[in-house]
């Protein structure tokens, strides 16, 4: 099964120079665990900011989320895979890099995101259908 079939197409993003508070608001409102961080300029690349980053790097250190910008805590560059990649390969890749989500790209554009939970659900559904993918 290709990763494109299970990816979430709705990606929420945040500007790199936005305060972390904006990211928190977006995550709470939309029940998300990560946001794509937009490149600052043409030379810059996409990044990702997660709940983990916010808790450990800002709140846990008593920094003010209203005065800390997203780019300070974001991870860059994001790990991206092609939309045609097979699920098994994505699982190995995530295991290798110890990451909880990968972004999916088509050309230069990021078109989706897949989390460990999505992979678990897709794998279980495939098993139930009788095909075993992991």
């Amino acid at each position: 099964m290709k990763i494109e079939e299970i990816m979430t197409k709705k990606i929420e993003s945040v500007e790199a120079d936005a305060p972390v508070y904006n990211a928190i608001e977006k995550m709470v409102d939309k029940r998300l665990r990560s946001l794509l961080v937009k490149p600052k300029d043409e030379k810059d690349v996409y990044g990702v900011v997660t709940v983990r980053d916010i808790v450990f790097k800002v709140l846990g250190k008593n920094l003010n989320p209203g005065k800390t910008s997203v780019e300070v805590i974001a991870s860059k560059p994001v790990i991206c895979v092609n939309k045609d990649m097979e699920i098994e390969h994505v699982i190995s890749l995530m295991n290798k890099f110890n990451i909880a989500r990968v972004f999916i790209h088509e050309g230069k554009e990021i078109i989706g995101v897949v989390s460990l939970l999505d992979l678990m659900a897709a794998t279980l559904i495939e098993r139930a259908k009788g095909g075993r993918i992991a």
Partner: protein, 210 residues
């Protein structure tokens, strides 16, 4: 035990085949509905009332066969209830199809995408229900099939929450426009709940027959 209970006489086999046919017709109806939404083709949903009637005929035949003596008495109410739940899914799908004729999803691309996604998941759930039903006769454990259906249902629930949020932000200028859209989404999102109920019932039968 399952072998003894299910591979019985001709009437039992007839019931089993008819239940499979019943679920397959539901799969066809769900597929038809999904395609209608994808292509924004309201004419496509016209097949759903026909399929619902076909489902009704199959259901009546199944119930008659059961009351003619198919299966052991302790199993009959469970099988009848399962068939009734599948039939309820037909009814709700038909209600959604009726409302679909009067709504204009094109005005909101987001709503259209979400509704199509739900219709697609509903169809996959019907397919999975058929897989689960067939697995019951292979004496397989239905736990994973039941879990797969629950995963699908959770996905529908998530989309439904988003849809409701979006709906609340919409300005409704006409009572009937608002009511039709609200009813359409209620019916569309209820189908997955019913299929989940059917799957739970199947799982209970599976466990009770061990």
């Amino acid at each position: 035990m399952l072998e003894k209970v299910f591979s019985g006489g001709k009437t039992e086999q007839k019931v089993i085949e008819n239940i499979k046919r019943h679920i397959k017709v539901l799969c066809t109806a769900s597929d038809c509905f999904k395609r209608a939404l994808e292509d924004r083709d309201k004419d496509r949903v016209l097949c759903i009332p026909d399929l619902e009637r076909e489902g009704d005929t199959i259901r009546r035949e199944i119930i008659s066969n059961i009351y003619e003596g198919a299966f052991l008495p302790f199993l009959r109410p469970n099988i009848c209830r399962f068939v009734e739940i599948v039939d309820e899914a037909f009814d709700v799908l038909e209600d959604a199809a009726n409302e679909f004729e009067f709504i204009n999803l094109e005005v909101d691309k987001d709503l259209e995408e979400d509704c199509t996604k739900i219709a697609d998941i509903n169809m996959k759930m019907c397919d999975m229900l058929l897989i689960a039903f067939e697995a019951l006769f292979r004496k397989e454990d239905l736990k994973e099939k039941n879990l797969a259906i629950r995963i699908y249902e959770k996905k529908v629930d998530e989309i439904k929450l988003d849809l409701i949020k979006k709906l609340r932000r919409r300005e409704i200028k006409d009572f009937w426009q608002g009511k039709t859209l609200s009813d359409f989404i209620s019916y569309l999102t209820r189908i997955s709940d019913i299929i989940e109920d059917a799957s739970d019932y199947l799982y209970i039968m599976n466990v009770s027959l061990r």
